[in-house]
């Protein structure tokens, strides 16, 4: 066993209110420089919807992630040779139009306008050229299903539904949506790293954060195509790729990442998990139906004395193992099996997990948006407003049973707590629901606590980064940590 630690995340989608506070915190902190205007290391997209960049999930077009060929993993982008052949023009690279043309407004006009009959207006200008422009799209053009007939209708995940289901879905009163906040997944089998010809992208051994060395990066821009989540962006100004750094400078000081810290809905959980690095490739090559389970299997139980022993042998500090024992991620993903990876079929083993949202599934029109909990509590899953198959297409590469299992748990917890606190459901029914969900009353209390009550310290368990142990005194940190994934000694403008 080769045990490594990984900082990992869970987003609880039922709690996301789609306020974009996370995106703004990130933007203000990291991507407010020339060249990065269009980058949203954190974005919140509406589902069903086309996402950011538009239709990024369509790998026929973008060729991100991995495929298994003759039992071996290879990049969907092509062989290494073909990557070098295509290096002077990358056919799979999204263009700015697939994101949007970043804009601001000429606010000065409001002040400088001469007195007159009309209100002065601030005209939109391009953040790239500074010239007047027409705004045609934005990073959230389909927010909350705006323009659903163009955007949501093209969501690749809707392909999993029948024609009739799709038609029904777009009946006005039937429409339903939820928010999907996304950041870099800091995958265990990152395809951006594998696609980089220069070897500039790397995973940090101690914490698994994936960074782009700004000094090694030569701007070959293959990582952008390689990443199926399109979470590596190209800075047109500096000629380098940039991506979410999981706020490592904050975490090294003991603070959680900015998007998580500011999250209004408190949907975000962070903690370290232990996994067996020797089994990464084997896990990522499993048949599609087994991927979710295999990935869960890769995560080790930090309470198991044998795992602790092996982890110590592999050089993991006891403080990190203790942190892993407090990790909310371990509980949601492994113990309660409630959190699922986004698009596991891309085989990068993403380490950001989602608890699928309950409301869009259970709400039906006849109930006017509410769901009844006492009668036939699980039957509503079959007649779900947003079919389970859609969720399965997002979170389990199509395996509905896996999603249903999660929903049973979510419903089980609610039914149990409702029976307990409101009392309009009998305890008998509640225990029956728990049985079907495979939960114990202790589980319910744990889930309830972590979902609804837990404070910031419990939701975001930042492991100690042990910088004091990283190097000897007087040594150059950069020599050890390769080159920085962010920040430069010289002004980050265009190279000569």
């Amino acid at each position: 066993m080769n045990i490594r630690a990984q900082v990992s995340m869970v987003f609880h989608l039922d709690k996301c209110i789609g306020c974009h506070t996370c995106s703004l915190a990130c933007k203000n902190l990291w991507t407010d420089r020339p060249g990065t205007e269009y980058m949203w290391w954190n974005n919140v997209e509406t589902k069903p919807g086309t996402g950011y960049p538009t239709l990024y999930e369509d790998q026929e077009q973008y060729s991100g992630g991995w495929v298994v060929e003759n039992g071996k993993l290879r990049l969907r982008l092509g062989s290494r040779k073909s990557e070098l052949v295509n290096i002077s023009y990358n056919p799979r690279l999204p263009a700015l139009d697939d994101y949007y043309h970043p804009f601001t407004y000429r606010y000065q006009d409001l002040i400088d306008a001469p007195p007159g009959e009309d209100q002065p207006v601030a005209r939109p200008i391009s953040m790239i050229t500074g010239e007047d422009m027409e705004i045609e799209a934005g990073p959230n053009w389909d927010d909350s299903m705006g323009g659903s007939e163009i955007y949501a209708a093209n969501d690749p995940n809707l392909k999993s539904l029948t024609e009739e289901e799709r038609r029904q879905f777009f009946e006005l009163q039937q429409l339903v949506y939820f928010y999907l906040p996304r950041i870099c997944n800091h995958c265990l089998n990152p395809s951006c790293v594998a696609a980089c010809p220069s070897g500039a992208i790397y995973k940090r051994g101690e914490d698994g954060i994936v960074l782009v060395s700004q000094e090694k990066c030569q701007g070959w821009r293959m990582c952008i195509s390689g990443c199926p989540y399109k979470k590596v962006y190209f800075n047109w100004n500096s000629g380098k790729a940039e991506k979410c750094i999981l706020c490592y400078p904050r975490m090294e000081m003991g603070e959680p990442p900015a998007c998580m810290h500011t999250c209004v809905g408190k949907i975000r959980y962070l903690g370290v998990v232990l996994y067996d690095a020797d089994r990464i490739e084997e896990t990522a090559s499993k048949p599609e139906a087994e991927l979710v389970e295999a990935q869960r299997d890769l995560i080790l139980n930090p309470f198991d004395p044998e795992v602790v022993r092996q982890a110590l042998i592999c050089g993991i500090d006891l403080k990190i193992i203790e942190s892993a024992q407090k990790s909310p991620i371990y509980r949601y993903v492994k113990q309660w099996r409630m959190a699922l990876p986004l698009h596991p079929e891309w085989r990068t083993l993403p380490m950001l997990f989602y608890i699928p949202p309950l409301l869009p599934v259970t709400a039906t029109l006849s109930q006017e948006g509410y769901y009844e909990m006492d009668s036939e509590f699980f039957s509503s899953l079959e007649s779900a407003r947003l079919p389970i198959r859609y969720m399965a297409s997002l979170f389990t590469s199509g395996d509905e049973a896996e999603v249903v299992a999660v929903y049973r748990k979510l419903l089980g917890v609610r039914i149990y707590k409702r029976a307990e606190s409101v009392g309009d459901i009998s305890m008998e029914t509640a225990f029956q629901a728990l049985k079907e969900a495979g939960l114990t009353p202790e589980d319910v209390e744990g889930i309830y606590h972590l979902t609804a009550i837990a404070g910031a310290d419990e939701r975001m368990v930042v492991p100690p980064f042990l910088r004091e142990q990283a190097i000897e005194m007087g040594m150059d940190t950069q020599d050890f940590q390769e080159h920085r994934g962010f920040g430069n000694l010289i002004w980050p403008t265009r190279g000569l």
Partner: protein
């Protein structure tokens, strides 16, 4: 004048090319990049970059191989059919490259093009100098027949004389002015090489073909072998 253009200038250009690139690589690695602008404009880039790069790479290789291995090159050109095939291929490649370069230049100059936001004077200068170089080279290929052959007997001896520090100009001074221009601008390209984006061509990441897919970097860790040993 000839002494400056064909002896001093090449030495200056080469010294700067090597010295400055190394200095820049070591002290300011952040500035090394192909400075791709594909994200801003894709369509013209395809019609420009692809012909330009395939063309220039092959042509450059031909120049270098013939200079380093004059023997085999002379043998290749010794036969009438082979010579004809190479000559025509060279001309075609020249035109192909030239076409790509012109598209690249149009792409940068096009009004309202986003690429302009990512264009510096250096980019413009490099494209302009390359236009002269590739333009003159292609013209020579078309109008001064059997360039492959006389290249071996004029430029190559001169290169060798420079390389062995016994500069000898007899083979080049009497060439037509247009050909001399191609030689001098060639060294101008070498001189510009370390200052702009041209450095990207020495970064061609061939090591990608054999490195493992995943890259993991530790701050500080006992070597893997130690871990494997203890794990047993």
């Amino acid at each position: 004048m000839d002494n400056f253009l064909f002896i001093a200038f090449p030495y200056i250009a080469l010294t700067l090319a090597i010295g400055v690139s190394i200095y820049r690589r070591l002290r300011q690695p952040y500035t090394y990049s192909s400075l791709s602008s594909e994200i801003l404009e894709k369509r013209k880039l395809f019609w420009g970059s692809v012909p330009f790069h395939y063309g220039i790479t092959l042509i450059l290789l031909a120049h270098l191989l013939a200079a380093f291995l004059p023997g085999p090159a002379a043998w290749l050109l010794g036969d009438q059919t082979r010579r004809l095939v190479l000559e025509v291929t060279g001309m075609a490649l020249g035109l192909y490259t030239f076409f790509g370069l012109v598209v690249l230049i149009i792409r940068r100059l096009a009004p309202k093009s986003l690429v302009q936001a990512a264009t510096t004077y250096m980019d413009g200068l490099i494209l302009f100098v390359l236009l002269i170089q590739i333009g003159s080279g292609t013209t020579i290929a078309i109008f001064d027949r059997w360039g492959g052959l006389w290249y071996l007997h004029t430029a190559v001896p001169w290169f060798w004389s420079l390389a062995t520090f016994r500069p000898e100009l007899v083979t080049v001074v009497s060439l037509p002015a247009f050909v001399k221009l191609h030689f001098v601008v060639g060294f101008l390209v070498i001189l510009l090489f370390p200052f702009g984006r041209l450095v990207h061509l020495v970064m061609l990441p061939l090591q990608y073909l054999w490195r493992p897919y995943q890259v993991v970097i530790w701050n500080r860790r006992k070597p893997d072998s130690y871990v494997k040993e203890v794990a047993k």
